[in-house]
Amino acid sequence: MPGITLDNLRWLLASMLMVALPLFFHFDAWITLFALLLGAWRYHIAVRQKPLPRLRILLPLTMLTTITILATYHGSLGRNASVALLTLMMCLKLLESNSRRDAMLLVFIACFLSLAGFLFSQSLLLGAYLILPLIALTVTLVGISHPNGSLPIRLKLRLSGRMLAQAVPIMLILFVLFPRLSGPLWSVPQDAASAMTGLSESMSPGSISEMIISDEITFRAEFKSLLPTPSERYWRGPVFWFFDGQTWRPGSFTRHLPREPLQGRNNPISYSVTLEPHNRKWLFALDLPDTAIPDSTLNHDYQFSARNPVNTRLRYEATSYLQYQLQRELDPAVRKYALQLPSRGNPLTRAMGQEWAASGAEPDVLVQRALDMFREQPFVYTLIPPKLGQDSVDEFLFSSQRGFCEHYAGSFVFMMRAAGIPARVVTGYQGGAINPIGQYMIVRQSDAHAWAEVWLPERGWVRTDPTAAVAPQRIESGFAAALPGSETIPMFIRERYDWLNSLYLGWDAFNNGWNQWVLGYNQQRQIDLLSRLIGRTLSSEQISAALIVSLISIMLLISWVILRDNGKHRDALQVAYSHFLRKLARVGIMRLPHEGPLDFSTRAAASLPEQATAVHDISLTYVKLRYGRTGTDEQLEKLQTDIRKFRP
């Protein structure tokens, strides 16, 4: 096999670099440097026309690389380790590649590496970027398969572009119709994905406010018909029952409780949620969800918990009752847990609570009293409250009076429990902005929130949001609107200029479409789409049959497109003469194989005396044009007209 020319090697290296570039962001620096070094080494060898390194250099180098990668990733061969290993192996293979066959193998490995890159990100931008290395790889293959010298770049680019464009319809057909399996074929290796900010498995002062500065999208929701009002947009997350004086936790003892009975009022609202990966088991639904989400469990306090941590984008449908009655009758066990207070600490608040309980007022009056306290006293809703000490609730309620949602929710529940009213802390998300382009709701990390639920007789668990008493704009417009103007938060959260905003929303709508229809195209979506197109539900066998049929038709179509120009270049003169012969054949005068045109014309003229001159003229002209040296277009056209007019 002949060797690779320098030009082809350049293209090969360029396309390998383009494929590896997005991956470098996920690798340790040494891996990137090493890969680049190997590429540069190979190029140097080619330019200086030195021989390739021997096996006794390459083999130890390969083993060293493998060991170092295993060491860097602590022995686990998860996503990062495998992709890094593949990249470096590909670069090492480059050092022993000198033939066309090796170069083609490297191109194929680069294609595979592009796929491996999708384990890190499948964003729209990455998809668009990949067109470049794809073209480069195709150009490399074109160059390799032309052994004699280099083709001009423009020719290679044009040819590659044309071939890729012709491949697109096949790709679309396969993408839409190829049967999708409902689950993975084998278990996916776990790698640490980015953890969620804002919410966690516990809540203490500062846990939300310190983490909330993030514009990242938590999930997007599409509503079927009704849209919840801003004050109805409470998305339920972890519920906390147990307070140890500083931190609220879910409490292990509540796990065995039965599901609280829910009675919904009015019609439930249906929606779908596309949740970004966050490596936890939380699934969010509007207060209070009615149906179960597949592969998840609904806790006793109506929090969804997925079976496996959510580390890929997940889409699920749910329905919720916005008006409801939850647990009308409270059994003593639940009451005990809902009144739990730490044995020590926060004496002032305890005293105040006992005072309220002793006053004999109804529970809802007490609730109102607490909310009034927040409203009337100079409480401030701020992202940067002062640090609290041992008696955090006392300090917050009576001295600092500055806090974020977790302070208000936590202290409110403490007060309620001190007054003998069962209460619990609920965290999750509150709010969500509608993207008019695409008609879906965006909920971000910055919408993380904490609120409370109190149990009132005859009414069950009632949601009470103390933050609403202090900063009602928070509920309506998000926390940025509720903070004092002097606080510095990033511009993108606080205010967006109109045009920038609409640009951003447009981009997000596009991104959402990408997520839904390209990345989220699974078996269910496939059946939905095709059933909608055809008009009735299809089975997967019918889909497969449709796939085969359309593939064959597409290939026939492409074949016709590519092969049809053979007719165009047929000799126009020959076509005209064949036409003439056909006309004569119709009246029974057929040219014998051994007859030349002039002989034939004599015979034909003899059989058609009245057309003799026409036949003769036509044949003469034909002979002149075919066998003579010159023939003008006008003569050809005249001949064609004569033949057309000829009626034997």
Binding site: G127, L159, I170, F175, R180, L519, H569
Partner: protein, 327 residues
């Protein structure tokens, strides 16, 4: 030089290889078109490797639910299909006609030449010509134009070079598919016999009395008459004035001093084996040609009158080459 002709593959050949069932380019009027029925296409080894990689990419996409992975895999699959069509298209409808080949001596490399013509307005890139294990050698054919496909092959025997089946192939543009077509030439290249080692002196002139034909001494100095032009006569010795008088082409004959002509006679050639005799005669023809003196060749069944010059030498060598070639 004769223009060789193309002929159809005769079914009396016995090849155990499966490719023996494939069609070979049909004859036409000295040209043949590699049309749809004559171009075959199969994946190359790299093409099969490509499909294996695609399948593993597909499995990876399914397992990790990579929507973008599906797009990439399917796009590459589509590219493979399109490449098949392009490769086929690169070769199909190429018009092949035999090229002019100069005769060579046995033992030298002969060049198989084919002229490829594109009538479809497409440039044909990396068209390879291959015969047996030799080759492939690639060439580009410009659009609507001719290009030459040349392949040097070793020769061993005198006579017409039997090339057997020539393969015209291409793997352009992506190297994933191999499209090929077969062409067979009847007479591709004439191979002259290998001359024997020098040493044997040239036979002397006809004065030896070995033949009954008597020719006057032809020389260079004194003009003594005219005779009709014979092929091979030097153009400088033609009587142009006679030609202008419309008496036809006449060669002036001179009587020379020491010039002699000789007969190279098969029967007078030493050697028991006919091949030895032929080799010896070839050597003599060479030497005689170099000496510049006229010579004639007398073989059983054919006789070439004495003359000199390139054309005469060629026709003598051709006679020697084709004389009772053992099959």
């Amino acid at each position: 030089m004769k223009l060789p002709s193309l002929r159809i593959f005769s079914s009396s050949r016995t090849l155990t290889h499966w490719t023996s069932w494939l069609r070979i380019a049909r004859p036409g009027s000295n040209e043949t078109v590699l049309d749809r029925r004559h171009v075959y296409i199969l994946p190359t080894r790299q093409g099969i490797l490509f499909s294996v990689i695609l399948i593993s990419m597909l499995i990876g996409s399914i397992n990790y639910s990579l929507g973008l992975g599906f797009i990439l895999t399917f796009l590459l699959a589509g590219l493979g299909v399109v490449a098949m069509l392009h490769t086929w298209h690169n070769l199909a409808h190429l018009v092949i006609s035999p090229g002019r080949t100069a005769p060579v001596t046995a033992g030298e490399d002969a060049t198989i030449r084919l002229v490829a013509l594109d009538r479809a307005g497409r440039e044909r890139l990396a068209i390879g010509i291959q015969q047996g294990k030799t080759g492939p050698i690639h060439a580009d054919i410009p659009a609507n134009d001719r290009g030459e496909l040349a392949l040097p092959v070793p020769t061993r025997q005198r006579g017409w070079l039997s090339t057997g089946r020539i393969t015209i192939s291409t793997e352009f543009p992506l190297g994933l598919f191999h499209a090929w077509s077969y062409v067979e030439l009847d007479h591709c290249c004439l191979v002259y016999p290998r001359p024997a080692a020098p040493g044997q002196p040239l036979p002397t002139s006809g004065a030896d009395g070995a033949s009954s034909h008597q020719y006057s001494n032809a020389g260079d100095d004194d003009f003594y008459g005219l005779r009709t032009y014979q092929r091979g006569d030097s153009l400088r010795q033609i009587d142009w004035k006679a030609s202008a008088r419309e008496q036809g082409l006449l060669t002036k004959q001179f009587k020379g001093g020491s010039s002699t002509f000789r007969w190279l006679d098969w029967q007078a050639t030493p050697g028991r084996d006919p091949e030895q005799r032929i080799a010896q005669l070839a050597r003599w023809v060479r030497d005689a040609h170099e000496s510049g003196q006229p010579y004639g060749l007398r073989m059983p069944g054919k006789e070439i009158s004495p003359a000199r010059g390139d054309a005469h030498t060629h026709s003598c060598m051709e006679t020697l080459a084709l004389f009772e070639v053992p099959h």
